[in-house]
Each structure stands twice: as structure tokens, then as C-alpha cells.
Amino acid sequence: MAAVGFLALWAWLAPGLAFLLLALIVPLRRSGKPAAWLSIMVSLGSLLAAVAAWRSTVPDMARRILWEWIPVEDGVLTSVGVLADADSLLMLILVALVSFLVQVYSLGYLSDESPASLGRYYTYQSLFAFSMMGLVIAPNFVQLFICWELVGLCSYLLIGYWYPRPEAARAAVKAFWITKAGDAFFLIGIVMLWNRTGTFDFAELFQLARSGGEALAGLGLVTFFIYLGAAGKSAQFPFHVWLPDAMEGPTPVSALIHAATMVTAGVYLLFRTAFLFEQTPDVLAAVGWIGAFTALLAATLACVQSDIKRVLAYSTVSQLGYMMAAIGAGFPAVGFLHLLTHGVFKALLFLAAGAVIHAVATNDIHAMGGLARRMPQTFVVFLIGTLSLAGIPFFAGFFSKEEILGAAWAGGLTVPFGMLVVAAFLTAFYMFRVVIIAFLGDPAPAAAGHGAHGPAHAHDAPVIMTLPLWILAALAMAIGIWFSISHPEVEFGPPAWLTPLAVGVAVAGIALAWLVYRRRAISADRLFERFAWIGEAAVERFWLDDLFALVYRRMILGVAGAVGWVDRYIVDGILNVLSASTLTAGDRLRRIQTGQAQDYVYGIALGVLLLMVWMRWPR
């Protein structure tokens, strides 16, 4: 079974190789299309390797390949390598798959870019694939952290892909700074953990946890810090503010990084290190609470967005909250399952949205309308994604979402359970709001001015873009159907009313959206007024972005300004005072040199006298 490890290794290293080639061979990168194809082919190979590896696994088997990375006197501080087991390989497949599809899709989406620019894009993509896979199969915290940071870097680079646009530039650094803040805590957590246990290795830590030794007692702070890292990356409240802004990046990037893979890394981390978190139930509870709250909060926010990508972004935040809630409830596998399904359908949604944006050249749903007729394929796949997300039976999200609700209930998190239910309702509502406004209805009149790219002239994307859509849609359907048929065993017994409840709130959400936006039975404005207390807050994003801006401007930059001033005018000032005083002292002292001979005699007489005094004379 050694092949499993090596297959995984190759799946991981192949994109790295592609990245190196693209980064180092400048003409290749500048050539655009060839660079893209290189990257795509490599990621296809990577996908195949991952699938092959997964196919040859057996349950409860983990394969490790390690190389020494940082040596110390008596051995190895940390190593790098591969930890291939069923979970990581499944995740690996997801990453490889979405990555491959997105790369294919991008070829069409970014067809207007210059070759050099396109080459740059695929370089980043390769790097991302490499980093993300490294994260997935990381055997220890250090490698995980390394890749964790690298995917953050890729996110930064890809959000800022259109760097001349000020919004893109701002969003890129914002994303980086906020996730990095979480990472800082993550690092602290790792450091503390190492000091306690002397290892970074998951397997060794797992053994420690199983043996229940003293070594793992009182890990609360450690796991909490690790969780903060995950919260930053997985956009948990209050770190979620970066994710909607990250939509400034190209849409395929959003699909890959900010929906399917990178943002789920936090969830994956918690899933992966669940054995540690189990030691600290308090932290787990906090994870659950925050997750549920995030889910609800983001769902509210999604309801008032008019930017299609932002709706999807908040929905991602919301879904991440679900996953976290499941883990917090003590059922990490459930969260992981939702991670996988969400990865598929959210990528689908984003790519479909991308196709729309590509066609109509705007993100504003109110500027769209009636696209179902002009872009039927896109409409279908978008609808599939939406139904999945809403948790309608026979679609991918149904089973996993229901399980999360059940997990929350079973985990005793009653209030979070309530929040999740409300969020589920809102999810169905806001998604159908988008579907109805953008795809059904009438084309927006204002769009006439958009010329060839207006909704009126929109048409389905070329094959290279629709093919990935269809693949993902099929997959979402397949997963949904497969789960519905097989109904796999779960660890907990969900209450019987759960399925009706889940389906019920979803349908209710859809119905409300239908009533409001399609039938206009209920005025949208009235509805908004009714919920003004929360609606306005949601429009203002609960002032969280303002809060972060305040912290940045007033606190960080403010303190920086103060420190900079102090450094220049006080610390350095004192030094200058010393030197200026020395100069002045010289100036003053030379005044004793009056030029008059008698004063010089004074010097002699005084000198003799002082000499006598100095020698303690008379003794």
C-alpha cells in the first residue's frame, strides 16, 4: 500500500513543479495559453493521482512519508511529508477536482487577459493547488501552518489579481491582514502546544490524546488559539469581514479559494485535530456557538446584498458557520461532510455566477433579470446549486445540512440549533431572491446602455466554461441522490422531526422569496421596513467593517503615528539633545578662552588651587 503515500505525494508535488516551471521560466509564463495548459494538465494529473490514491485506501489506514526539515541536536524538530488517510485523500480529491475545473473554466473566463497576465494567473493557481494540497495532507502542525500561510498568500495574490483596481488592492490586503491576525494566534497556539508536548506531529499528538496523559491537560488556551486561526481563515465572526471584500478577485478564484477550498481550511483543521479539541469541551462549545451565530449573522447579511457574488460570499460565511457548529457540537465528521458537499455546490454556484457576470459585465442582481431565457444552461446549473444550498432533498446539501442540525441538537447546543434553523430559512430565502431577481423576472431597463454586454444580449458561456459547470452540477446531483438513497449511518440518532423541519424551513424560505419577489404579494420594501431594526444594521454590515477600519486607522496607524513621532522627536530627540548639548558645551567652554592673558593666568592659579583641593589638601 506504499503507493497511496506516493500517489498523494505526487498529487501534491505536481502543481508545485508546475509552479516552479512557470515562475522560473519567464518566457513560458509570459506566453499565456501554453502556461495555462501546462497548469491545467498538471492539475488533471494531480486529480487522477488523488483519485487513484483514494481508491486504494482502506478504512483506518494512514500512510506517512516524512523528511527531516528542521534538525535539532538530538533529532528532528519538525519534518515535512505526507499523511495520507481516507479523510485527507477525500479532501485532496475535492481540492484537485475543483482546482482542475476552475482552471479549465478560467481559460474561458479570463480570455480577455493579456498573455503575461494569464500566465501570472496560472502560476498563482498552481501555487495555490500545491499549497492547499500540502495543507490537506500535512502530517504535522508545522507543515500545515506553512501551507496555511501559503494559501493565504495565494488568496492575497489572486484577490489582487487585478491590482490596478484600488478596490481589488484594498480587498487583497484586508483579506491578508485579517486572516493573518488569526494566523498569529494559530502560531501562538502551535508554539504553546509544542512546548507542552514536544511535538508537532499529528500522529504523535493523537497517541498522546488517546493515552490521556498529563501532557494534554489544560490545553484550553492552546486549542482556543488554534481555533482563532481557523476562525480567521474560515471567516468566523468577527473575522468574516474579509470574505465579502475578497470577491474583488476573479470569480473562478472566488469559487476555488473563497468557497470550496481555502476558506474551509479552518474547518478542516478543526476536523483534523478534533482529538485535541475533544480535550477542551469549553472551547468546543464556543466553537459551536460562534459557528451558529456566524451562520445566522451571515445569512442576514446575505439577504440585503445586491451584488451576486457578495450574496454568495455571505452564504459561504454562513455555511462555514454551519460546519463549525457541527464540529463545536462534537461531531467533526458531520462538519467535514458538509465541507465536501459545500465545496462542490458552492464552487458550482460561483462558477455559474461567474458565467453570468462574464455575460452581463455587472455584479448587480438588479441590473440583471430574465437571464433564464438567454442563459438556460447557466440557469439550470445555478438552480441546482441553489437547491443544494437551500437543503432540498436529492441535492447535495440536503443530507449534510440536516445532519448538522441534528448534530447541534444532539450536542446539546439548543440555542445554536435555533439559530441554525433560522439561518436555514434565510438561506433558502436569499438564494431564491437571487435566482428570481436575476434569472426570472424582466431584464432590467437600465441595462440597455450596457451595449453588447447587457443582460439583453447575454448568452451562455462557451463550452470551456459550461463544461465544468455541468460536471459540478452533475456531481452535486449525484451526491445528493446517492446520500438520499444510501442514507448512511450517523453517530447520533437524529430526532424524527428533524427532516421535516429542515425541509420545511427551506421550502418556507423559498416560498417567501417567491411571494416577495415573484408574485410581489408582499412588498419587498414593506418587508424590509418590518425588519428595519435588523435590515439597516445588515446593510451597514453590523458596523463590523467600520469597527475593523477604526481599529486599523485609529489604533494601529494611530499608535504607529505616535510611536513614529516619539521615535523621531523624543528618543532621537534626546540623542540630538545630547549631541547638541555637547556642541553647545564646547561653544560655552571656549568662552573661557577670552583672549586676555590675565584670564589665562587665572586658569593657572585656579588649576593649582583645584589640584590642591582635588588631592584633598590639606588633609
Binding site: Q598, Y602, A605, M612, W617
Partner: protein
């Protein structure tokens, strides 16, 4: 009170008084005259210390020579300036404090010094002894003194010559 002490105190009084006059008189010419008086009194002090030869040198070289050159210098400079040289003093107070402090310091040292040595009897002819040692053990300084006087003379001449 012995004759010796009366002589000493008398000389001391004259010496100090004339010295003070040297540094306090406004008229420079009078200063010089007081200096001559002071130097003469010093010669008296030398006599009281049985140093007749030195007293003689003192009178000849100092009271005679120095005072003469100084007077000469005054005359020359007065001619150059064109009016009588009166002189004032500067910073009298600080000068007084500083020299007073030095005096106090010296006197304090004297108080604790082993200075109560008895005055030994005279050892033969002092003048002869001085002469002998000048030409034996101190012949080198004596020769150098000659060079010194020569070079001082050359220097004084260099400045005093009005030409080139």
C-alpha cells in the same frame, strides 16, 4: 623681642607694604619705584639670612638692572603713546579672592609642616661656597645660563630693532 625679630618684622612690613603698593598704585612709574623699594627690602631679608652675596646680586641685578630696563621701557612706550601711562586694575575682587585663597591654602600647609627646624650655625664663607659649587657641581647649568642670556638677548634685540 630680639633685635633679629625687630629687623625681620620691620623688613617684612616694608616688603609687604611696598609690594602692595606695586600692585595697587595707579601711576606705573611709581609702581616701579615701589618695586625697587621692595627688591631692596628683599636684599635686607637676604642679609638677615646671612646671604650677603645674594643680597649684593639682588641689589645689582634686580634693583639696579631690572628697574632700569623697566624705567627705560616706560619711557620708550610713553614716548610712543604720547602721554603718561596711568594704569587701572581689572577684576580686583576675583583677583583678590583667588590670590587670597591660594595664600590661605599655602598657610594651612605651613601650619602642619615640620617647619620648626632650628637655624643651624653658619658654615664658613657662604660666598666662597657658592662660587665653588657654581664652577664644580653646577658648572653645566652655569654654562647653559650663559647660552640662555645670549639667546634672550638675541631675542630682545630682534624685537627691539625697529628695522626690517
Amino acid at each position: 623681642m630680639s633685635l633679629e625679630s625687630i629687623t625681620f618684622w620691620g623688613l617684612a612690613a616694608v616688603l609687604v607694604a611696598s609690594s602692595l603698593a606695586v600692585v595697587l598704585t595707579r601711576n606705573l612709574f611709581h609702581s616701579v619705584l615701589y618695586l625697587a623699594m621692595s627688591l631692596t627690602a628683599t636684599a635686607g631679608v637676604f642679609l638677615s639670612l646671612d646671604a650677603e652675596f645674594l643680597a649684593a646680586i639682588q641689589l645689582l641685578l634686580y634693583a639696579g638692572g631690572v628697574v632700569t630696563i623697566v624705567v627705560f621701557a616706560i619711557v620708550v612706550t610713553e614716548r610712543l603713546v604720547g602721554d603718561r601711562i596711568t594704569q587701572t586694575s581689572r577684576q580686583i575682587l576675583t583677583g583678590l579672592i583667588l590670590s587670597g585663597a591660594l595664600l590661605v591654602a599655602l598657610l594651612v600647609v605651613f601650619r602642619r609642616g615640620p617647619l620648626t627646624v632650628p637655624r643651624p650655625a653658619m658654615i664658613g664663607d657662604l660666598t666662597r661656597a657658592i662660587g665653588e659649587s657654581l664652577l664644580t657641581s653646577y658648572v653645566l647649568p652655569f654654562e647653559l645660563l650663559g647660552v640662555l642670556l645670549l639667546v634672550a638677548l638675541v631675542g630682545a634685540l630682534y624685537f627691539a630693532r625697529p628695522d626690517d
